[in-house]
C-alpha cells in the first residue's frame, strides 16, 4: 500500500487536509474535491426539489383546495421537476461519484482535463443560479416546456431555458472529459476487458451526454428565440409546429433517462460482487448491455408521443424499437442476481440498497412495457401510471443507486464510517415510504387519473391520501440518510482503508486518498472481479 506522508502535527496527509481554506476548494482542480463540491450542491438541490414535492403531495391530500390555489400548484410541480431533473439527477452520479472515482478506478492521477473539470463545476453552479431566478418568476410550464404553452410564459421560460442551456453545457463537458480520460488515462494493464463496470457505464453515459445534450441545447435556444423574437419555429400562430418541439425535446430527454440510470446500474454492478464475494456474472454481457442500451436509447424517443399527433406508422415503429430497450435491461437483472449464487452475502447497507435497486428497477422496467405497448399506452399516457413509472426508474433506480454508491464509497471518500444501524433503519424507511407513495399512483393511473392535476374527482381521494402520507415517510427516510452521512463526514468513526474488502483499484490506495491518488501509478495485472476461493489468489481472469 501507499507510503503515507504526514502533516506537521503527525496526521496523514490526504486530499482533504493537504490544502486548507475556502479558496483552496474554490480553486481546486482535484477531481476528488470537485466531486465532493458537486455532491454537496446536488444534494442541496435535492432537498429543495423534495420540499416542492412535499408541497405538491400536501395539496393533493384532499379533493378540492387543501392549502393553496392552482396557480401555485402549477408552479410547485414545475419547480419540483425542473430542480430534480436539471439540477439534481442529470449531473447525478457521474458528476459526483464519477468525478471522485473514475481516475481512482482506472489508476490515474486525475481526469485528463482538470481545469475543464473545475470550469464545468462553476458553469453548473452558474446555470443553477439562473435556474433559481426562474423560481421567483413563477415558471409553470412543467419541466417539459411544451410549446405552445411555454410561449405564453415568456420571461420565466427564457430564464429557465437559459439555465438549462448552461447546465447542458456542463453536462456535455463532463461527458467529454470522462470519455477522453477513459481512452487515454488508464494505468498500464488496465485493458478495456478489465475496466470496472462502473467505468463502462460512465463511458456509455458520456457518449449520451455528448451526443444528445446539444440537441436540447439547440431546442431550448430556439424556444428562447421564439419567446423573444417570435421566429415561428414552434408557435403555430406564427407558422411553427408544436409537435416539432416534442420531437426535439424527447430526442434528448429519452436518452437522458439513461444518463441518469446507467451509472446507477454501474454502481450496483460494483457493489454486488464485493458483498457477495463473487466475480460479477457475465461481465461481457453487462458491458454489451450498457453500450447497447445507450445506442438504442437514441431510437425510441417517439414512445413519449404515441398520442401526440404522430403518423400511425411512426407510432408502430417507435413502439417496436422501444421493446429493444427492455431486453438488455432484463439481461442485467439476471446477471446481478446470478452473481449472488453461492456467494458469501453480507447484509451491509450498500448491499441492501443494491438489492432494493434490483427490486424497484424490476417494477420500473416491467411497467415500462405497459407504456411501450400501443394498445395500453393509449390509456396510460399522461396518467399517474407514467408518473409512478418514471419515479420508479429515477428515484427507485438512479437515486437509490446514488445512495448505494455513497454508502459503499463513503469510507473511501472520508476514511470514516457512518452509523450502520441508523443507515439500515433509514433504508427501511426509504423503501417503505417510496413504495407506499408510488404503488397507489400506479393504481390511480390505471383508474384514469391524469397527471399534473391540481384537483381530481372525489373517487380518487383515498389513494391520493395514502400516497401523500407515504411521501412524508419517504422524505423522513431521506432526512435520516442525509443526516447520518453528514454527521459521519465530521464525526464518524475512523475506519479501515478497505472495510468491505473490495479488490477494485480505488481501494488499493489510502482512504481518504492522497492528493495524487497513487504514490506510484499502479500496474494492473488482473481484472477487478477476482473474488472466489482458488482463483482470487492467482488473480488472473479466467475470461
Amino acid at each position: 500500500m501507499s507510503a503515507h506522508a504526514a502533516t506537521a502535527d503527525g496526521k496523514q496527509l490526504n486530499y482533504l487536509n493537504c490544502e486548507k481554506g475556502l479558496w483552496s476548494w474554490i480553486m481546486s482542480i482535484d477531481h476528488k474535491r470537485i466531486g465532493l463540491m458537486y455532491l454537496a450542491s446536488i444534494l442541496s438541490f435535492f432537498v429543495v426539489g423534495g420540499v416542492f414535492a412535499l408541497l405538491v403531495r400536501a395539496e393533493l391530500f384532499s379533493h378540492g383546495k387543501t392549502l393553496y390555489g392552482p396557480d401555485d400548484y402549477n408552479v410547485f410541480f414545475t419547480l419540483h421537476g425542473v430542480i430534480m431533473i436539471f439540477l439534481f439527477i442529470v449531473p447525478g452520479i457521474p458528476a459526483t461519484l464519477g468525478n471522485f472515482l473514475l481516475p481512482l478506478m482506472i489508476g490515474a492521477k486525475d481526469v485528463i482535463f482538470p481545469r475543464l473539470n473545475r470550469f464545468t463545476y462553476w458553469l453548473y453552479l452558474f446555470g443553477a443560479a439562473i435556474a433559481f431566478c426562474a423560481i421567483f418568476m413563477r415558471l409553470d410550464t412543467g419541466w417539459t416546456f411544451y410549446a405552445p404553452y411555454s410561449i405564453q410564459n415568456r420571461w420565466a421560460v427564457v430564464t429557465a431555458t437559459a439555465a438549462a442551456f448552461f447546465l447542458g453545457f456542463a453536462s456535455i463537458l463532463t461527458g467529454l472529459n470522462f470519455l477522453v480520460t477513459i481512452h487515454n488515462m488508464r494505468a498500464p494493464g488496465m485493458t478495456w476487458g478489465r475496466l470496472p463496470l462502473f467505468v463502462w457505464t460512465l463511458y456509455a453515459s458520456a457518449i449520451l451526454q455528448i451526443v444528445a445534450t446539444p440537441v436540447i441545447g439547440i431546442t431550448l435556444l430556439l424556444l428562447l428565440l421564439e419567446n423573444t423574437m417570435g421566429i415561428g419555429i414552434f408557435n403555430p400562430a406564427a407558422g411553427g409546429d408544436p409537435v416539432l418541439f416534442e420531437h426535439l425535446f424527447w430526442f434528448y430527454s429519452h436518452p437522458v433517462v439513461y444518463i441518469m440510470i446507467l451509472p446507477a446500474m454501474g454502481v450496483v454492478s460494483e457493489i454486488i460482487p464485493v458483498f457477495s464475494k463473487k466475480p460479477i456474472f457475465g461481465y461481457k454481457a453487462l458491458v454489451y448491455a450498457s453500450v447497447g442500451i445507450a445506442a438504442v436509447s437514441f431510437l425510441v424517443w417517439g414512445h413519449h408521443m404515441f398520442v401526440a399527433g404522430m403518423s400511425n406508422l411512426s407510432r408502430y415503429i417507435f413502439s417496436f424499437l422501444t421493446f429493444f430497450v427492455a431486453v438488455p435491461t432484463a439481461v442485467k437483472v439476471f446477471n446481478w442476481v446470478s452473481t449472488m449464487y453461492k456467494g458469501s452475502i453480507s447484509w451491509d447497507t450498500p448491499m441492501l440498497y443494491a438489492m432494493a435497486f434490483v427490486f424497484l428497477f424490476l417494477i420500473a422496467g416491467t411497467t415500462g412495457v405497459h407504456l411501450a405497448t400501443l394498445g395500453t399506452d393509449a390509456h396510460y399516457h399522461d396518467t399517474y401510471f407514467v408518473v409512478a413509472h418514471f419515479h420508479y426508474t429515477i428515484q427507485g433506480g438512479a437515486v437509490i443507486g446514488l445512495f448505494a454508491g455513497l454508502h459503499f464509497w463513503f469510507p473511501k471518500m472520508f476514511g470514516r464510517m457512518y452509523n450502520e444501524k441508523v443507515a439500515k433503519f433509514a433504508w427501511l424507511f426509504l423503501f417503505i415510504g417510496f413504495n407506499g407513495t408510488f404503488i397507489p399512483q400506479f393504481i390511480l393511473g390505471m383508474e384514469g387519473m391524469p397527471r399534473r392535476y391540481y384537483d381530481y374527482p372525489i373517487e380518487f381521494e383515498p389513494l391520493h391520501r395514502i400516497s401523500s402520507i407515504f411521501a412524508f415517510i419517504n422524505a423522513a427516510g431521506y432526512a435520516m440518510v442525509l443526516g447520518n452521512l453528514f454527521y459521519a463526514v465530521f464525526k464518524g468513526k475512523k475506519c479501515e482503508e478497505n472495510p468491505f474488502h473490495s479488490l477494485s483499484l480505488e481501494w488499493t490506495t489510502a482512504s481518504p486518498p492522497i492528493h495524487d491518488n497513487f504514490v506510484q501509478i499502479p500496474r494492473v495485472t488482473t481484472w477487478t472481479y477476482g473474488y472466489g476461493a482458488e482463483h482470487a489468489a492467482e488473480g488472473e481472469a479466467v475470461h
Binding site: 466475480p279 454481457a285 452475502i345 394498445g375 482463483h535
Partner: protein
C-alpha cells in the same frame, strides 16, 4: 390480477384490459420470481464470516443466451398484441357518426352533424361507432375518456381524431390529459351513453333554439356559394377553372410535384385556408385565392362537412 382499470364501456375496452392483464401477469410473475430468488440467495448464502469460501463463476453462455432470447420472444408477442389492438383504434369505420370537438382553455365544445352544439357534454348512442374530429383553439390539449380507453392529443395545427363504440349506458369522465395551464384539471367533460331513441330526442331537441345552429354541412353549402367557390369549382364532376369537387373527400389526389395526397380533413382545410401550399396537378396556372383569415373556424368546418357530402 392487479387490475384497477375503470368500467369497460367501449367495444375494445375488454381487449385493452386483456392485454394489460397479460403484461401485468408476466410482470408480476417476473418481479416476484426474481425477487424471491434474490432473497433466497441473500438468506441461504448469508455471510458466516470473513473466511467464507466462494466459487469462481464468471459466466455461462447457455444461461445467458436463454435469458436474452426468452425476453426477446415475449417482447415480440407483447408488441404484436399492442400493435394489433392499436391498429384498430386508429382506423375508424366509414359509417362512424362524426362529432367535431374543439378544445378551448378550459372547456370542450362539441358540434353534431345537425348543428347542435354543446359544451362539456358529449352524448352518444349505444352501439354506434363514434368518430371525434378534434382541434384546439389555443394550446395543446388531450382528449381522454378512461372508460373507453381512448386518448389523443388535440392540436391547434391539425385535426386529430379518435373513435370508439360505446357498449354500456352510463355517464363517464372526459379529462384533458395534456397540461394546458391554470384550469387544466378543471377541463372536465361528461360523456353520456344513451339509447338510440333517447339520442334521437336529444339531437333534435328544439326546445332550446340557442343550442341549435345551422348544421355544419348546410352552413358550408351556404358559404360555398357566398364566398364564390362556385365560380371555379363545379360539384357535378365537370371541369372549371379549378378541379370539380365532386367526391373530393377521401380520394387520392395527384399534386403538381407528382406526390399523391389523401384528401382528409387536414388536406381540405389546407386547400382552402392556404390554397397555395399544395397545387393540384393540371391546375398550376390558375391561382385559387387563399382564404386565410376570411373564414371562421365554424365556417371552415362547415365547408369540410359540405364537401364530404358531395
Amino acid at each position: 390480477m392487479f387490475t384497477f382499470m375503470p368500467e369497460q364501456a367501449s367495444e375494445w375496452a375488454p381487449y385493452v384490459d386483456w392485454l394489460n392483464d397479460y403484461i401485468t401477469n408476466i410482470s408480476v410473475f417476473c418481479i416476484l420470481g426474481i425477487t424471491a430468488v434474490m432473497l433466497y440467495f441473500a438468506i441461504r448464502y448469508r455471510r458466516r464470516g470473513p473466511d467464507d469460501v466462494t466459487p469462481y463463476i464468471t459466466h455461462s453462455a447457455s444461461l445467458e443466451t436463454a435469458w436474452t432470447v426468452v425476453p426477446t420472444v415475449i417482447c415480440f408477442f407483447v408488441f404484436y398484441y399492442g400493435f394489433e389492438s392499436y391498429h384498430e383504434m386508429r382506423n375508424p369505420p366509414a359509417n362512424a357518426m362524426e362529432v367535431n370537438v374543439t378544445g378551448v382553455k378550459w372547456r370542450w365544445d362539441f358540434e353534431y352533424s345537425n348543428g347542435k352544439r354543446t359544451t362539456n357534454e358529449l352524448v352518444v348512442p349505444i352501439g354506434r361507432a363514434v368518430k371525434l374530429i378534434m382541434r384546439s383553439q389555443d394550446t395543446t390539449h388531450s382528449f381522454f375518456i378512461p372508460a373507453m380507453r381512448v386518448k389523443e392529443d388535440v392540436l391547434s395545427t391539425v385535426y386529430s381524431y379518435l373513435w370508439f363504440t360505446p357498449t354500456k349506458l352510463g355517464e363517464y369522465h372526459i379529462f384533458c390529459a395534456e397540461y394546458c395551464g391554470l384550469q387544466h384539471s378543471g377541463m372536465l367533460g361528461k360523456l353520456r351513453v344513451v339509447s338510440e331513441g333517447e339520442f334521437g330526442d336529444y339531437l333534435y331537441d328544439r326546445q332550446d333554439p340557442e343550442a341549435v345552429e345551422l348544421p355544419p354541412a348546410e352552413l358550408g353549402k351556404l358559404k360555398f356559394a357566398e364566398k364564390g367557390c362556385t365560380a371555379c369549382h363545379s360539384i357535378d364532376g365537370s371541369k372549371g377553372l379549378g378541379p370539380s369537387l365532386k367526391g373530393v373527400f377521401g380520394g387520392d389526389h395527384v399534386m403538381s410535384d407528382g406526390s399523391v395526397v389523401k384528401a382528409d380533413e387536414n388536406y381540405i382545410r389546407e386547400s382552402i385556408v392556404y390554397s397555395q401550399k399544395k397545387i393540384v396537378k393540371g391546375f398550376e396556372g390558375i391561382v385559387m385565392p387563399a382564404f386565410e383569415g376570411q373564414l371562421s373556424e365554424a365556417e371552415v368546418n362547415g365547408l369540410i362537412a359540405y364537401l364530404k357530402t358531395l
